[in-house]
Symmetry: C2
Subunit: 224 residues, 2 copies
């Protein structure tokens, strides 16, 4: 299908992490290029006018934004399926993709990652405590919701592992890098995350480190 595959990504970007997990799960080799997207590097902006990660170049094909990449991977390399085989499974996985990429990202990441990560990367000063509190409260509501889903199903979208699990884990894992996930209050979510963390596709994410941003001590621990 392609001679070369290159992923332009930022290690602590939840959208990039979803693509890395899908590539790993489908056992597709790729060269990775970490980019400082906030500096709007010329190479990245030439590929993606939004200037955002992830961007994947596969042979002649340029794929911008996580959903375009994930849909392409699913269409081109259907095994193992990561969106489900039945229409109802796909609908549920896609509902949850939107949930995490939009609602969780807006209500949780928009506060916690902005305060703890983006402000550091951009030199914008200390975190605002009220924003951190707001993000942490929203995170708890989302964990309650994930716990309720996990209580009824093997995986988030149903009986099979899907992109919904990777989307949730990608967002949570970056927040976990900064130590903000109250795992012990949500044992169902913790067990689900432990299963994901143990998959080979997850290993590269646990090895991520960014200069000046140290992870929480338990971040790469499989028995956290």
């Amino acid at each position: 299908m392609s001679d070369t595959r290159t992923l332009f990504h930022f290690p602590l970007d939840p959208a990039s992490r979803q693509v890395r997990l899908a590539l790993g799960e489908k056992r597709l080799a790729f060269t990775e290029q970490a980019v400082r997207y906030w500096e709007r590097p010329a190479e990245l902006v030439a590929l993606n006018p939004s200037g955002l990660t992830p961007v994947m170049v596969e042979g002649d094909l340029v794929l911008c934004e996580s959903r375009a990449i994930l849909d392409h991977l699913e269409e081109t390399y259907p095994e193992p399926p990561l969106l489900g085989r039945e229409a109802s499974e796909r609908a549920e996985a896609r509902r949850l993709l939107q949930w995490f990429d939009r609602k969780f990202d807006y209500e949780v990441g928009g506060f916690l990652l902005h305060e703890k990560m983006e402000k550091r990367l951009l030199g914008l000063g200390a975190p605002d405590l009220a924003s951190l509190r707001q993000g942490r409260e929203a995170l708890r509501s989302h964990l309650v919701y994930i716990e309720s889903l996990i209580g009824q199903r093997d995986w988030l979208a149903g009986q099979r592992l899907s992109m919904a699990d990777f989307a949730a884990a990608a967002h949570l894992s970056v927040i976990d890098y900064f130590g903000d996930v109250p795992w012990n209050d949500f044992t169902g979510v913790k067990t689900w995350y432990m299963k994901l963390k143990s998959r080979p596709a997850f290993r590269p994410l646990l090895a991520d480190r960014w200069p000046g941003l140290a992870p929480a001590p338990h971040y790469d621990d499989l028995d956290f």
Copy 2:
């Protein structure tokens, strides 16, 4: 495939409009049910935990959020194709879906529709003039970008009409309802929008009226 198809939508919601355009273009009949999503009606929340529109029920299948519905329609009723036939066409259409649903929505709709529509629906008082100005400035940047794409191509994502056109038109059409699109400064965009506006699928959108929110006089005029 299904005995019945019902779309729960809000007429002035850009995400709902994308689905209505896709259903119209694919000539799929549906019953529509307009919902006041901000009041969190029980029937809607029971179908979609996010409480957002659009939700489509097709036989036994519940599809929540625009992208899940659009992907389902494309998979189940592939003619006419609205995401392109080639991988590169699909990548470009999907890049632009993200552009409008995320970037445009955040930078333009988040200001203009919040100030002019949501504040009215929720009884939150008069529009904030600085926010309106910020939204209008961002809108001009986006129109410059759309104009540049239209200058190189027949349609937004390439040589064929696609969901990218419907996404852009869905977002712009709601802003146009409130009279905020400076069409005469962007003649390429205006011609492109005129072509879309003339399609049968667009007609129901031009007939939309919401109590207490009157549209701009040119809103449903095909020769605006």
